[in-house]
């Protein structure tokens, strides 16, 4: 009797099991493949802050973990890629260089940020970062320019590079460092800083009293020669790779956020325009309110101006005192005072006059990209991108046309029910520094690179679900 009951019972259970397990619908998708020409087994990433995962005005563990090379490497692992090692900060020093976080909004809705100062990796004298000397595949160095890659003194100029430079070879150039690394595939997104550092400093450190080589636009022939040297190194054994172009730096939120607020304030107070310093010297120019963020003959105001914009039309020397503290060789109050006096003399500043409204107390050059500077930036970006494209095409490399991509998304786009645009904070793409992406922005960039690699090498590497990566966190 029992057997009779047992058998239908088993049958019923089997039937139910098959039913429930076999119930799930499936969508056929092409299996991931590497294609035939590229070998993704050992991938290295060459580049600057964008490659390192820099965001929110700092390099810290969360950004490193969400760097586009890390995301790309994870996807390459689906088509034969191996492990990918980054010079990660430790958990104990996870805040790395320190960074900005959003702490709230003013009554007017202006975002308020504050620096994170705990759990830093800034543990050595002179602001040096805790060393990481193990082998690495993410060679991204914040601030590095194409112009810097052959410099033997670069590790003394850049703490991010010093951090990963072997103690036994302190004078190793970046080019030599890359040459010493084995790889079968590479990404190279370099060149942004050859124009970006000029742009973010308002062109004020190019020539003149405060001249800084790092904040000058790289000469085109230097760029061409160095870029070729790096690509020759990277493709020495016939390796394939992908290179990125330079996005139009003037369209990032760093340059587009403060302008409209300033313009509104000028318009509200019936002020037709302001007087500003231009370039690295003491020349004054007149700027009409209508020029701010205008597509033709426009000027742009960097995010660094947000602290000074409310002081317009007041007799203030705050900007110059801050600058003196920043550029002074010593923190000593007397030395700072001396620096301030020489700055005021050099630029012929009278801080008792109305800030921005008088020739005696003009809007500082560092807080403005004027028409001439914007035109320098555009010309350099175009020249560098022509070089990048030509050299990549000569070598049969994939190209992530970042310039084209960021131009195409200026008006914003929507994906998976989320709106994206280059707007500060609300655009979800850019972190609190207004220049570097959020982790989600990096994921979107990684996906664009994957699409370029797929198309160049006939591969089928799946893109990532970008919603799994965060944007700006709200308090």
């Amino acid at each position: 009797m029992k057997r009779h009951l047992y058998k239908p019972g088993v049958l019923a259970a089997l039937f139910a099991g098959v039913l429930l397990a076999g119930c799930d619908p499936e969508i056929d998708a092409p299996a991931p493949t590497a294609g035939e020409t590229a070998d993704f087994s050992t991938y290295i990433a060459v580049g600057n802050s964008l490659t390192a995962g820099y965001q929110d005005n700092g390099l810290y563990l969360d950004g490193q973990l969400n760097s586009y090379p890390a995301i790309l490497a994870e996807q390459l692992q689906l088509v034969g890629g191996g492990d990918f090692t980054q010079p990660l900060f430790t958990q104990e020093q996870k805040n790395g260089s320190g960074y900005l976080r959003l702490t709230g909004f003013s009554a007017q809705g202006t975002p308020i940020t504050a620096p994170v100062t705990d759990q830093l990796a800034v543990t050595r004298p002179n602001g040096l970062l805790t060393k990481y000397t193990g082998p690495i595949q993410n060679l991204g160095v914040p601030d590095i320019r194409v112009a810097d890659i052959t410099s033997t003194s670069y590790s003394s100029a850049n703490p991010y590079y010093e951090r990963i430079t072997p103690d036994t070879a302190p004078n190793q150039t970046y080019l030599e460092r890359v040459a010493a690394t084995d790889h079968t595939f590479f990404s190279m997104w370099l060149g942004n800083n050859d124009v970006l550092l000029y742009a973010t400093s308002g062109g004020a450190f190019s020539g003149g009293v405060l001249n800084s080589d790092f904040r000058t636009i790289t000469p085109t022939n230097t760029f061409d020669a160095n870029y070729a040297a790096m690509l020759n190194t990277l493709t020495a054994d016939g390796q394939e790779g992908i290179v990125g172009t330079i996005p139009g730096v003037e369209a990032v939120p760093f340059f587009t956020t403060v302008g409209p607020v300033l313009k509104q304030s000028l318009d509200a107070n019936g002020i037709p325009g302001f007087v500003a310093l231009t370039g690295g010297g003491r020349d004054r120019i007149q700027v009409a309110a209508g020029q701010i963020n205008a597509p033709q003959n426009g000027v742009l105001i960097p995010l660094t101006a947000s602290a000074y914009a409310p002081l317009l039309a007041q007799p203030t020397g705050k900007y110059w005192r801050d600058l003196a503290r920043q550029v002074s060789p010593s923190k000593d109050a007397l030395v700072v005072r001396g620096t301030l006096l020489s700055l005021l003399a050099a630029y012929q500043i009278d801080t008792t006059q109305m800030f921005g409204l008088s020739g005696g107390n003009p809007w500082p050059s560092a807080l403005l990209l004027d028409m001439a500077e914007i035109s320098n930036i555009k010309a350099a970006t175009e020249a560098f991108n022509s070089i990048i494209r030509a050299q990549a095409e000569n070598r049969g490399l994939a190209i992530f046309d970042a310039n084209q991509f960021f131009t195409a998304i200026q008006g914003g786009f929507s994906e998976n029910g989320v709106a994206y645009s280059p707007a500060y904070i609300s655009g979800n793409l850019f972190s609190l520094d207004g220049v570097h992406p959020t982790p989600r922005g990096y994921a979107i960039i990684a996906n664009e690179m994957i699409k370029a690699i797929n198309s160049k090498y006939n591969a089928k590497i799946p893109t990532v679900d970008v919603t799994q990566y965060r944007a700006v966190l709200f308090p």
Binding site: L19, L20, C23, D24, P25, E26, I27, A29, P30, P32, Q75, L78, L102, G104, F105, E415, N416, G417, V418, A419, N428, I450, K451, N454, K460, I461, P462, T463, V464, D465, V466, T467, Q468, R470, A471, V472, L473, F474, P475
Partner: protein
């Protein structure tokens, strides 16, 4: 009080996955499910209240039918190429039900009451899938309560009409793409009760013993939600943009259905049926929520739906093996009302194919059982969802729907 209880039931027990075109649930009778859900052109017993009130007048005995189905449904999602994201719904088992009672006032005039669930949707995508800013989960319920009168004009012609009062509710949850310090996304939940009015009418004509034909019409019912609760959970620094105590109004049209059915009985043991239905989905133009307070800068949200009228083609057969045992089978093709560009994760609809089998068994002279099993397979469909604020990708749905009913006659 009663309304509340029914609405409560609607919200908990009766949710049914939308496994027909749009969010229609064609599971109105266990016998008819077995026959491919045909029934407009034949006698179907007490369920003629639903299929064709005109045929109800032909019932010889008083009867009560209680039945329920269990919908086990799954929807798979895959992001557009070369996207690697996948998702699979984890929807609860839907349990649409039917309750019909028919009482003969005299030989020609019959009164009946039907309570059934012709529309509904319950889909749970969860809060980890890539489309969660479009939808986490949706529960949509509608219970039709239909008192009906049917009159036999001649031996060959019957007419019937029913008044429909519909109650139900909607609960929609989606993630808000703004994260707090822990990286958690905000959440919006819209929850409200709805009600609406409509009617059901039918004509049944049987010129010969072997042949019958029917025409039925179920009107559109506008389900109105008034003063539903909109609850938002977001990071404190932006909570001012998502005010507490926000209420919403919404209106969802449940479309009309016009059906023509033909029955043919070549022998006494065999019944063949064919139905064609036209569903007036074009009534569903947009999904709009009006808020009582300004939510993130807007006092309403609206997404286009622009459904198109759609046809359903059905065939079914019943064979009486003996006096007490009947075997059934059927099939149908349910064309989607959703145009290209308008696919949404609420109802990632596509042309659906249904295959069914059923069995009827008389336990005693007064009690009989009907069991059915329906398999629904929707075509795999890839869409951008761009016109409806949907989530781009490829969707594929299947459902397994067993059901059981008990009939009493007296």
């Amino acid at each position: 009080m009663k309304n509340k209880i029914i609405a409560l039931l609607g919200g908990t027990l009766l949710s049914a996955s939308a496994m027909a075109g749009g969010f229609q649930v064609n599971l109105a009778s266990q016998r008819q499910i077995g026959m491919g859900h045909t029934g407009t052109g034949i006698y179907t017993g007490t369920s003629s209240i639903f299929f064709n009130p005109g045929a109800m007048s032909y019932l010889r005995e008083n009867g009560v039918t209680v039945g329920v189905s269990g919908i086990v449904s799954k929807i798979a999602y895959r992001a557009p190429e070369p996207g690697g994201a996948e998702a699979l719904t984890d929807s609860p088992v839907g349990t649409p039900f039917q309750l019909y009672a028919v009482y003969g006032i005299n030989d020609k005039l019959k009164a009946g009451l039907g309570v059934y669930t012709p529309f509904g949707s319950s889909v749970v995508w969860g809060d980890a899938w890539s489309g969660r800013f479009g939808l986490n989960e949706l529960s949509l319920t509608a219970v039709f309560i239909q008192p009906t009168l049917s009159y036999q004009l001649t031996d060959k012609l019957g007419v019937g009409v029913g008044f429909v009062y519909s109650v139900g509710g909607v609960n929609l949850q989606r993630s808000i793409p703004v994260q707090n310090q822990q990286g958690e996304y905000g959440k919006a939940e819209l929850d409200g009760n709805a009600s609406g009015l409509g009617f059901n009418a039918g004509v049944f004509f049987q010129p010969t013993e072997k042949f019958s034909v029917g025409l039925s019409y179920r009107s559109r019912v506008d389900m109105k939600v008034e003063g539903g609760d909109a609850t938002f959970t977001v990071a404190p620094s932006i909570s001012g943009r998502f005010p507490e105590g926000t209420q919403f109004d919404a209106e969802l049209p449940l479309p009309s259905t016009l059906s023509l059915g033909i029955g043919y009985m070549p022998t006494e043991a065999l019944t063949l049926a064919v139905d064609i239905s036209r569903v007036g989905w074009s009534a569903y133009e947009s999904l709009r929520f009006d808020y009582s307070k300004t939510v993130n800068g807007a006092d309403f949200t609206e997404n286009a739906r622009n459904y198109e009228d759609a046809y359903i083609y059905r065939v079914g057969a019943e064979y009486r093996v003996s006096e007490g045992l009947a075997l059934r089978a059927g099939a149908y093709l349910d064309k989607t009302p959703v145009q290209d560009g308008y696919l949404t994760p609420e109802t990632p609809d596509a042309d659906s194919r249904g295959l069914s089998v059923g069995v009827g068994y008389a336990v005693t002279d007064n009690i009989s059982l009907d069991a059915s099993f329906l398999y629904i397979n929707k075509k795999e469909r890839t869409d951008t969802g761009a016109a409806s604020g949907g989530i781009a990708g490829t969707y594929k749905s299947v459902a397994y729907i067993p059901g059981l009913a008990v009939n009493f006659t007296f």
